[in-house]
Symmetry: C2
Subunit: 491 residues, 2 copies
């Protein structure tokens, strides 16, 4: 507080120097050229995007193409996820506009191109909580955050529930808005001041750029947000409920998270019936929110939902009208450097592309090593929850599910507790407490190695993947340490 | 993004080094000794408090006494306001525990003691927006923020609307929670997780300390939150409405703020009738919120309220149930370094202790130079609004209201537009546009110097105050520049 010393030396304004009334900032820019001029980005700039419009996003591509047109090179693209809708940026990787990618989930042509080594630089794969951590602690410094905004007013209050392309909560964009050097709201719905409830308020926004359409609302709903109808999937979901009961956590105060995969949603469905039958009143459910969870909220099975991202239109509607449906930022969701909602989770249900006998999970690449996913909240919820449960079929194709070592470690086995398959339930040997609970509850468990042997008996031993020599990226843990290299694929 | 280069050199964790599941932070401390041990404060530490419990606050004093007991010296006390309830800290100024005070409003015994020169250091008087600015831009670095919390859960989600001493919005504590090195929730109402709606979420909170009572809810309501019944005050309010009409701003989309003084509230009351009669639909009202404004919200006269602080129990109830009653942080309210709500204000009604012929306003000291107030949002709203109107009686006591130079400049005259008194309306000569509007509207105006002469005819010329030689503090403008010295008083 050194300006409180030597007051005599402090300059006091004269009447003639008194400041005039403050003027309202003019934030609306009329076209992309003006916007880019104001941003004054240089080669090697770091630009960020959120993915709440998912495969319906129509913001990332035109912005990146405009940066290409400016002749910028060696950009780092920090997008919370990247979808097939973004394939038009592949030429920008080839011509050196984009050097590096930092993301939490990437699928489609861009992912394949990265695996084929098309980035001059590399890819950093983070969890949702890890992304927030790295932005807030300035490990990743964003020069410009381009925020696809379902609605904004002229001062930059951004709301995800107003506007034609309302996508609900904007949880993944919050850290960007707090820390980026420049924050740009890109909207197709400029509304009257004040626009509320604001996910991002005007004090965090520098510019507003209006475009015809930020996306296709239909693209928000991914193909997976339906309960599975497959009998094997349903059996796994039923056995998962059995496992959950065995943990002793299915009681009043339960906190729960599930992904939007078909089996995971079936688990939510069975859980709903179980809670109703046994009159269990849960605490909260969290994560990406679907209509299955909003229905459970409305039934009083949970007191509240912590929503970082709406997965379907029911979730968006619920967010609009239900005060117990609460927005959360990605940091509040899973940042390991603060106390986060995941730390209060009892049970999380997660999927996996592969798992190994150390319970390490890969959701970043296929078994062929080609990138096709990423942690999202996988790492965060596995780490934070009392019990993390992987649900998966042993045989979903000709591809082996259990390996000695997964291709890429997305989530460390030290945080993965239970695996439920159609051939049995395996419990991580590190969780002696759970093994004991299962014994008491008379729920059979099977060694994960036995499950693997069984699968190999049926399908034969998998061929070893031949990786390329070149390391093209890192699978980062939520705390910033590195779990695994990602290699170029041979083709 | 240098960690994306030379990937071969990046350390990858071995399986044996994989992190274990994250454990829930234990934030609850059992007593003050444990809390202070964990905070590890040193001499010259900067500690902060908010004032949402106003004169009912029972948190600041016991914390400061505990710091005194530890033997800490030369602390800087950053409290958004200081009230008569805090007089027990005067001995801490005398014994050197507290060296400096940074505040936006200070009244009662502590204020008088400061004026008498009892601080070893000095006092920095800021506006609400200026306080947020200085904390967020790290001009003021807080070591520990002690947040009086009407309710908190064990993870530190703090809500101002839950709990016995619910005081509503916690807008002044937001910057502290975002920037202080340690954030401590002090609560008398430890509730079940998750506590929502949270003014401050768990990701910003380090420790939770439970005490018997954080305060007296009755103390939240200041004595001034009633419409005046005084006929002179009512005349001023009526003339103020006339002035507002003359500005041309009383139309659909009106945004409005008024303080909680008796005349200001009478203005709100007359405005209500006028808006009803003329079917005017306003945009927002802002600031500290009273039942007068929540009633206008419910009548549809405003679409929304931006609330930084609840001034009465009606406001708290409205905040609980009305989604159009929106929380705002002090930064969103008035931080001059970001776009703030005040920049969108059409009209603000403000009080004054004194005004001078340059329209400079003093709300920091009495005419005797003794500190008894502070800017609060005065500077911020005067600067941001299209039209700022000071309402005051010329004769409220034997003390002159209009001077050649106010004792201390709180708000620069360059941002003050209109003065309404019982003897006429003065318009700042800098506002030629307003003078023209008043002419067109046939509303008489009078030169502020004439008003002054008239007052002096009636009351005689005021005696010149004899100031002490010692500068004891600064009246800081919201942007960080300094408007005036504050001098020790002779006694």
């Amino acid at each position: 507080m050194n300006y409180l010393d030597n007051l005599e030396d402090v300059k006091v304004l004269k009447q003639s120097e008194f400041p005039s009334k403050s003027s309202k900032r003019k934030k609306i820019v009329k076209d992309m050229d003006e916007l880019l001029k104001r941003l004054d980005l240089k080669d090697e700039a770091v630009v960020s995007f959120h993915h709440h419009l998912r495969n319906g996003d129509r913001v990332l591509v035109p912005v990146m193409k405009a940066l290409q047109k400016m002749g910028l090179k060696d950009l780092t693209l920090v997008s919370s996820s990247i979808f097939p809708a973004h394939e038009e940026i592949i030429p920008l990787m080839e011509d050196g506009t984009i050097k590096n990618i930092v993301t939490s989930y990437i699928t489609g042509g861009v992912a394949t191109a990265v695996s084929k080594g098309k980035l001059k630089g590399s890819i950093l794969m983070q969890s949702h909580g890890g992304r927030a951590r790295s932005i807030l602690n300035e490990e990743v410094v964003i020069d410009a955050a381009f925020i696809a905004s379902p609605s904004a007013d002229e001062m930059g209050n951004i709301s995800g529930v107003n506007g034609e392309n309302s996508c609900g909560v904007l949880g993944y964009a919050i850290a960007d808005s707090q820390k980026a050097k420049k924050v740009i709201s890109i909207t197709d719905s400029l509304v009257e001041y004040p626009n509320y409830p604001a996910d991002i308020s005007e004090d965090y926004v520098d510019y507003i750029y209006e475009i015809d359409s930020i996306g296709l609302k239909s693209g928000i709903v991914s193909g997976t947000t339906q309960v599975t109808k497959d009998p094997i999937g349903l059996k796994i979901a039923k056995d998962t409920l059995k496992a959950m009961k065995a943990t002793g956590l299915l009681k009043d105060g339960l906190s729960f998270q599930t992904g939007a995969g078909g089996i995971s949603l079936a688990v939510a469905d069975f859980l709903k019936d179980y809670m109703l039958e046994n009159n269990i009143k849960g605490s909260f459910a969290s994560g990406g929110i679907t209509g299955y969870l909003t229905e459970m909220l409305e039934m009083g099975l949970f007191t509240s939902l912590f929503d970082v991202q709406c997965f379907d239109l029911e979730a968006i509607e619920s967010l609009k009208r239900n005060p117990n449906h609460i927005r959360m930022s990605a940091s509040l969701y899973g940042n390991p450097e603060v106390s986060a909602v995941v730390d209060n989770l009892d049970i999380v249900i997660l999927g996996a592309t592969e798992i190994d006998t150390n319970f390490n999970v890969n959701v970043s690449t296929g078994s062929d090593g080609v990138i096709m996913g990423g942690s999202g909240g996988h790492q965060d919820t596995a780490a934070g929850s009392k019990v993390s449960i992987i649900v998966s079929k042993l045989f979903s194709s000709r591809i082996p599910f259990i390996k000695d070592r997964v291709e890429v470690i997305t989530t460390p086995g030290s945080t993965v507790d239970i695996l439920v398959t159609e051939r049995g339930i395996a419990v991580n040997p590190m969780r002696k407490d759970l093994i004991e609970s299962f014994e008491k509850a008379n729920v059979d468990i099977i060694d994960i190695k036995e499950l693997k042997s069984y699968a190999e008996e049926v399908m034969g031993k998998p061929e070893k993947i031949e990786k390329g020599q070149r390391i093209i990226g890192l699978s980062q843990y939520r705390d910033g340490s590195v779990l695994d290299y990602i290699y170029e694929i041979k083709n």
